[in-house]
């Protein structure tokens, strides 16, 4: 009996060792451009439920913060994958980087502006044409687009300091600030501040957001790894959209500025931006959207030339 056990044990060890030797995990890094929030829920879901490992990837998620230079981190090889905006990919290509987008979290852009309810703004145009100062990340392509479209004076832009500090401060009711309409207005309301929020996409500027980008040569050399990453990411996001609670509870332990309940509300709010069409495949991008954005950025002088969209992104199954 003991000899049977020994043979069984030896076979088990052989099989396990064989499978490990056959498919060693590949280490990879994903840089976020902000702290762990529902915006990145699907990535954390796939990390914590072992989906990336099942695809042979030992992924490390590197949380970000204000000013994290993710495009430069990808280009320099500091990280393999990074979260960027669609317009950031285009601007980086204009400046000589070789980033290619492989995934988008948001199909529709949840970025917007919010201002105290007492102003009675009914639309984005009302807010942008008012005399309120607006806290914004100056120089961002969408800021330049809005500045041109709504003839906004330079002096009305003030630096964005993060969170809801500029709507909740002493002079909060005299200024508006940028936000994710899925997130900051909720936080403001929870703090007792009544706000109205408006999507930037009302202006016609609607880039994909929270894209995963890689370097072009990385994609060419490690296409299989990238494909496995996308496969795992899709599974992660599908699981997160079905039930975000477990991942939200875990993320709330890393990012203690939001409670689990707040995570849950934001995750629910963002669903329509991640999956506006339940039949469509999440994470995929359309060439027409890339062409449209390039035309808009050429119009405001951010881009000199447009590139074929096939060079800018790739959809994996």
């Amino acid at each position: 009996m003991s000899s049977v056990k020994s043979v069984f044990l030896a076979l088990s060890v052989f099989c396990v060792a064989g499978s490990v030797l056959a498919e060693p995990l590949v280490r990879a890094k994903l840089a976020l451009n902000w702290k762990p929030e529902p915006e990145f829920g699907g990535f954390y879901q796939a990390l914590w439920d072992g989906t990336y490992k099942k695809e042979g990837i030992d992924l490390e998620i590197v949380p970000g913060g204000s000013g994290q230079p993710v495009p430069q981190m990808i280009e320099s090889g500091t990280v393999d994958f990074g979260i960027v905006a669609q317009d950031e990919v285009l601007v980086s290509r204009e400046r000589g980087a070789n980033l290619v987008a492989i995934w988008t979290v948001y199909q529709n852009n949840p970025q917007g502006f919010m201002a105290a309810e007492k102003h009675g703004f009914k639309s984005l145009g009302d807010l942008l044409k008012s005399s309120l100062k607006i806290a914004i990340q100056k120089g961002m392509p969408y800021a330049l687009y809005l500045q041109k479209k709504y003839a906004i004076k330079e002096s009305r832009w003030i630096p964005y300091l993060g969170g809801i500090s500029q709507i909740s401060g002493i002079s909060g009711d005299t200024q508006a600030q940028q936000c994710f309409v899925t997130s900051e207005p909720e936080i403001a309301r929870a703090s007792g501040i009544r706000v109205n929020s408006f999507l930037i996409s009302e202006s016609g500027y609607n880039p994909y957001l929270a894209l995963v980008a890689v370097r072009k040569d990385f994609l060419e050399k490690k296409r299989d790894l990238v494909q496995r990453f996308v496969r795992a990411t899709r599974k992660g996001w599908q699981a997160y959209l079905s039930d975000p609670k477990t991942a939200n509870q875990a993320m709330a332990k890393i990012n203690t500025s939001l409670s689990t309940e707040r995570f849950q509300v934001i995750a629910k709010n963002q669903e329509i931006f991640v999956r506006p069409d339940r039949k469509a495949k999440i994470g995929e991008m359309a060439a027409s959207r890339w062409d449209q954005l390039q035309a808009q950025l050429q119009d405001v002088g951010v881009l000199r030339t447009a590139k074929p969209s096939s060079e800018l992104f790739i959809n994996f199954d």
Binding site: P69, E75, V91, R95, A97, Q137, M140, P159, V302
Partner: protein
């Protein structure tokens, strides 16, 4: 110059990506036609840093004279003054915006906070560097404490004041640029905007001229101190 040459060669030979590090030629290509843009930013930073440093000198002079007359006040408040030396300006800059609003007031306050302590501590040290025999001589000649201060202590402390202002000037430029990141305008606002546009040439150029602004102050104060106040300088300072 050697470093700039290496930087240029590194990019031209393809060793370094121009997307990550701007070579001098790229900085020049930007700087020459756009001189009004960066010139305006530089002037704003210069103005704010100068006013911040000026406030530091005025406050430091007032406080150190008070300390000199009333040593118990010095014992009581000097530890508090160390706050200005140790305060992480980047952490309190958002508070300055709440108190002073967006624009130059916050930037000047930021420049003042970081440049105040070196000027003050050098001033206090300077007032203490008087030969007791000289004070004795003044007293023998029935000089009042005020006469001793303005006739002896203050002139003897001038080299230390110059040294303190020299140290504070570089910090005032840093304080102004940090303040501008939060309050807008100047080189800080310029760098912030250029970074968002991934304009590494503009970021590098702005850092470069910010450094030159600091060096300009150092040299200016050195020259002014050693020409206008030449007779007060000890050989050792």
């Amino acid at each position: 110059m050697l470093l700039l040459g290496l930087l240029e060669a590194g990019v031209q030979l393809g060793w370094i990506s121009s997307y990550l590090i701007a070579p001098p030629s790229a900085m020049l290509r930007y700087a020459v036609p756009a001189w009004r843009d960066w010139g305006t930013a530089l002037f704003e930073t210069w103005t704010n840093a100068t006013l911040g440093l000026g406030l530091s000198v005025v406050f430091a002079l007032g406080v150190s004279v008070l300390f000199s007359y009333l040593p118990w006040v010095e014992r009581m408040f000097l530890p508090l003054m160390v706050f200005f030396q140790t305060v992480p300006i980047i952490a309190i800059a958002p508070l300055l915006v709440i108190w002073f609003g967006y624009g130059p007031k916050t930037v000047i306050a930021s420049a003042w906070i970081v440049s105040f302590f070196p000027v003050l501590s050098n001033g206090i040290f300077g007032f203490a560097q008087v030969d007791p025999r000289s004070i004795e001589l003044f007293r023998l000649m029935n000089a009042t404490p005020t006469k001793i201060f303005w006739g002896l202590r203050f002139p003897r402390s001038i080299p230390y004041w110059v040294q303190g202002i020299r140290l504070g000037s570089g910090l005032a430029v840093i304080g102004a640029i940090v303040g501008e990141f939060i309050a807008g305008g100047g080189l800080g606002g310029f760098i912030d905007s250029a970074r968002n546009q991934q304009r590494i040439d503009q970021v590098f150029f702005a850092v470069f001229i910010g450094t030159f602004l600091g060096l300009f102050y150092l040299k200016l104060i050195d020259v002014v101190g050693r020409t206008w106040f030449k007779r007060y300088f000890y050989p050792s300072v």
